[in-house]
């Protein structure tokens, strides 16, 4: 029933194919070069120049954030023994010049490496020295601007852009503001254009202009124009965005109010999704822009349409018993969308702390758990809660509760085992990756997809059930579980890069 746009149907399975890869803080951490390349790659007329040995350029072609979309252009300075001993500044200087002559970009982003960092090359002075001689902007990212903020290279590169390019111009006081306009900035892995279309449309209807959406075919010219906006809307207040406020006076609004939540402990602040969450977010943006009046009408009208649509679908979901897994991650959807908007009836909530452990402390997890149960109660359900059950225990509980649909994650739950036992599932991971976004249309789509999932034919004997899996991390084979254990031990509990 859900129509896809022409010619894009391959993308979901393609992205999904690489999704189970257990890296990103489970068995490995992508280095800073990858993060920086992700950003450079999202700027259509920028070229990276990796200041380091060939490996730092060749291996980094594989994009750990989107392994299906490699970085095909990764020129480097081909650092050798000689430079390690005598320094690589001259090679970098020559390299920048040559890069400009070869690629004719509007921006060269020099990405430094362990090797160039350790030998102490002075990137800044090399760049300042050569900038005037070539016809494009040059900046550098060394991974040390933003501390531990993840994904480190991305954060750092964005900071470098703000710091070395945008703020440069600002000092000259040349900004002509684009009145009553906002930027929308999200990670390039989040399909910016697709996922912000409704937000942009709502804001426009309120009389708020969209200055720039990043990153979506973004050019260097677009980057310069970022400082013309009054406000930047972003999911998380990245260091570069904070700097933009500081230096260029472009304030920001974070849709996921982690900072405020830490003060006020109101769980709603963590969820900008669903009908109410979106309404709150849109209204807060409107207030910041002085458009409350216009906003009220727009939000009410759009809300009404969404509520009507959802209630049309709700009928088919009534009386169905649902199990869901606690999200742990901040993209949490259950409270706003599943319970309030779609009105599902959770009979069972499952927590897997092995996954959560990566992301939140035990305290924070307990907090999230309490929130979850509280919410369910508020909407009239009294779900059983399972903490770290084995797959067998999950299935037993689901069968006892006569669960019609298990809303779980293909990365944390052994969905093929459920299927073998005749339990239908809805993959939270898929929703999060491809569809979840702020706006009123998303809950409608969720309701539709849930209804479809209830009707889906059973999958009886998945080949994947032939394999052995780790009992705790049910998506990992014993081999990978060992790698994960070793990694965890060595890192002593890292904060993952996924969220």
């Amino acid at each position: 029933m859900i129509q896809n746009t022409r010619g894009a149907n391959f993308l979901r399975p393609l992205i999904n194919a690489y999704n189970p890869l257990p890296i990103h803080g489970i068995t490995a951490i992508p280095g800073k070069i990858s993060g920086a390349l992700m950003l450079v790659n999202a700027i259509t007329d920028a070229v990276p120049l990796i200041h380091g040995p060939v490996g730092c350029a060749f291996q980094r072609k594989i994009n750990p954030f989107r392994p299906h979309a490699s970085f095909y252009e990764t020129p480097c300075t081909d650092m050798r023994d000689l430079e390690v001993v005598y320094g690589g500044e001259e090679k970098l200087r020559q390299g920048i010049k040559e890069t400009y002559e070869k690629y004719h970009p509007a921006l060269i982003v020099v990405i430094t490496t362990c090797a160039s960092d350790l030998i102490g090359d002075d990137f800044k002075s090399v760049i300042e020295g050569i900038k005037g001689d070539i016809g494009c902007e040059v900046i550098y990212t060394a991974g040390d601007f933003v501390g531990k903020s993840k994904p480190i290279g991305y954060q750092d590169a964005l900071y470098a852009i703000t710091d070395q390019m945008l703020c440069e111009g600002l000092e000259k006081g040349e900004i002509v503001k684009n009145d009553c306009s906002v930027n929308i900035i999200t990670l390039p892995i989040h399909n910016a254009a697709l996922k912000t279309a409704e937000m942009a449309s709502v804001l426009r209807e309120m009389g708020i202009k969209i200055n720039k959406i990043c990153f979506d075919h973004t050019t260097v010219k677009d980057l310069y124009a970022l400082s013309k906006a009054e406000l930047t809307i972003t999911d998380y207040p990245l260091a570069g965005i904070r700097l933009m406020k500081e230096k260029a006076g472009v304030d920001y609004y974070a849709t996921v109010g982690l900072e405020k939540y830490r003060e006020r402990k109101e769980p709603e602040l963590l969820s900008p999704y669903g009908i109410e969450g979106s309404a709150r977010v849109f209204m807060e943006i409107a207030k910041r822009m002085g458009k409350e009046g216009e906003a009220e009408e727009v939000i009410e009208r759009r809300k009404k349409i969404a509520v009507e649509k959802v209630s049309g679908i709700k009928k088919d979901l009534e009386g169905k018993t649902v199990a869901y897994s606690g999200m742990g991650c901040l993209h949490s959807l259950e409270q706003q969308m599943l319970l309030r908007d779609v009105g599902i009836n959770p009979g069972l909530v499952i927590y897997k702390t092995s996954g959560l452990g990566l992301l939140l402390s035990m305290d924070a997890m307990e907090e999230v758990r309490n929130i979850t149960v509280e919410w369910a109660r508020k909407y009239g359900s009294e779900p059983e809660v399972l903490i770290n059950p084995t797959t067998k225990e999950e299935i037993k509980a689901m069968k006892e509760k006569r669960v019609d649909l298990a809303i779980v994650s293909s990365l944390n739950n052994a969905v093929h085992e459920y299927h073998k036992e005749g339990i239908r599932t809805f993959n939270r991971e898929d929703l999060m990756l491809h569809y979840q976004r702020i706006g009123f249309e998303c809950p409608v789509e969720l309701a539709l997809r849930l209804r479809e999932a209830l009707k889906e034919p059973q999958k009886r004997s998945p080949l994947l059930c032939m394999l052995e899996y780790d009992t705790l991390r049910v998506n990992l084979t014993p081999e990978w579980a060992k790698l994960a254990d070793i990694f965890m031990s060595l890192r002593g509990g890292v904060v993952g890069d996924r969220c």
Binding site: N9, F10, L11, P13, A17, R66, A69, K455, L463, L464
Partner: protein, 428 residues
């Protein structure tokens, strides 16, 4: 499966997903290795059948001859041309069998094809027969059934050999035909069963001796008519088996055959094969987890498509949004009530079918070469499984059927997703 999910053709205008009687008959005959098929028709029919054969199967084994008559002969009859065609075919190929397929034009013109056949039987030392294959007389699968039924007329009563089977419904112009047959034979041999003759992938003589088998295996229900005749006339029992796509269908295939022969099944062989499959899919388990739940359409003939869809749903965990049966067989009606698909189209009009696929959010198509443009428009990979495949060849030992086929299909499906240019387009 409730009936609201089964859709029949709505309109009168038909952009067909199936072919006419002529092609069904010609396909069956092409598997009689020493037979010549004469297409008694105007040039178009002959050219069509020749193209299907030359592009879709062994390019050095065509054996299709045209009676090549001209427009002028449409007035006075083309019997003379047909006579010449039979003579020349015999002269050049020395076949054991010459089959005349009498198409629309001569059928309407009223050519006395039977008369020509009778006369030529006297003249040349080969069997000759004719079949009515006017395009308006029915679809391809009927032509196929009738041809196999016709072949039973040449069969001779004989002593039954123990644990010997015939395979019926095998089509040697399908994309993986030769390797599928090897794998099916390997599976049967593992159970101490030998293959007597294959309808059709045997010499005419071997086909005549088909009644020596103690069981007929009807693959996916294709050729059921001939199995029934052979049961009646030669007391050869039959089992209808799934086309062995995937692990479960392969086991089910062996089970039904064993049951049909009153044999114990050799479980050890199955365990070994399962272990082999497990070992291979372990190597790609992350991708397999990743593509789980892909929304797909299966567009193929009734003798194959149900079984493939079942494999995709049950074993790979795909969502079968649309199952389109482009061409029925006598088992199709029984299978309509199965439940691993969301919507079932029976012999759909291509226009309507395309519309259905487009609204269902299909992300991958299992079909024939005829679904290529649709796949392109949807931006969905096309895995070519069903006849006709005209833009892919297979000469290696890489079956889609059986235990080995389970591995090969899985490999091809993963590759269909991950090895296209989509990532680049996305990154742009």
């Amino acid at each position: 499966m409730n009936n609201e999910k089964i859709k029949e053709r709505e309109g009168l205008v038909y952009d067909p997903t199936q072919d006419c009687k002529l092609v069904g008959a010609a396909r069956a005959l092409s598997g009689v290795k020493d037979a010549i098929t004469i297409v008694h028709a105007r040039p178009g029919c002959h050219c069509g059948v020749l193209l299907l054969r030359a592009l879709g199967s062994n390019q050095n084994d065509i054996r299709i001859v045209s009676s090549a008559f001209r427009a002028s002969e449409m007035i006075y009859g083309a019997e003379g041309k047909l006579t010449d065609a039979i003579r020349l075919s015999y002269k050049h190929f020395k076949p054991s069998l010459i089959a005349v397929l009498n198409c629309s034009a001569p059928a309407i013109m009223g050519d006395d094809v039977e008369g020509v056949v009778l006369a030529m039987k006297e003249e040349i030392p080969a069997e000759v027969f004719s079949l009515s294959t006017g395009g308006y007389e029915g679809p391809a699968w009927i032509g196929y059934e009738e041809t196999l039924a016709e072949l039973t007329h040449f069969m001779v009563e004989s002593e039954k050999a123990e644990n010997s089977v015939n395979i019926i419904g095998f089509k040697q112009d399908e994309i993986k035909a030769y390797s599928d047959l090897s794998e099916i034979e390997r599976m049967l041999n593992s159970q101490g069963i030998t293959v007597n003759s294959v309808l059709t992938n045997s010499n005419f003589d071997e086909i005549k001796k088909a009644p020596e088998a103690s069981l007929n295996i009807v693959l996916g229900g294709d050729g059921l008519e001939s199995a029934k005749i052979m049961k009646e006339r030669f007391d050869v029992p039959y089992v209808v088996t799934p086309y062995p796509f995937g692990l479960n269908n392969s086991i089910e295939f062996l089970k039904r055959v064993s049951r049909g022969l009153n044999k114990q099944i050799d479980q050890e062989f199955i365990s070994t094969e399962k272990e082999a499959i497990k070992e291979r899919i372990e190597r790609v388990f992350l991708f397999l987890e990743g593509i789980y739940d892909t929304s797909v359409a299966v567009v193929g003939d009734g003798g194959r498509a149900f079984d493939l869809a079942k494999f995709l749903s049950d074993e790979l965990g795909f969502g079968i949004k649309v199952l389109a049966i482009t061409s029925k067989n006598y088992s199709t009606q029984d299978r309509e009530k199965e439940d691993y698909f969301e919507s079932l189209l029976i012999e759909p009009d291509r226009f309507e079918m395309n519309r259905e696929l487009k609204t269902k959010g299909v992300e991958m198509i299992f079909g024939s070469s005829m679904e290529k443009k649709l796949a392109y428009e949807l931006g969905a990979p096309l895995v070519r499984i069903f006849y006709p495949v005209l833009d892919e060849v297979s000469i290696s030992d890489s079956p889609y059927a059986g235990f080995k086929g389970t591995i090969q299909l899985t490999e091809n499906i993963i590759n269909a997703v991950i090895s296209n240019y989509a990532g680049i387009i996305d990154a742009d």
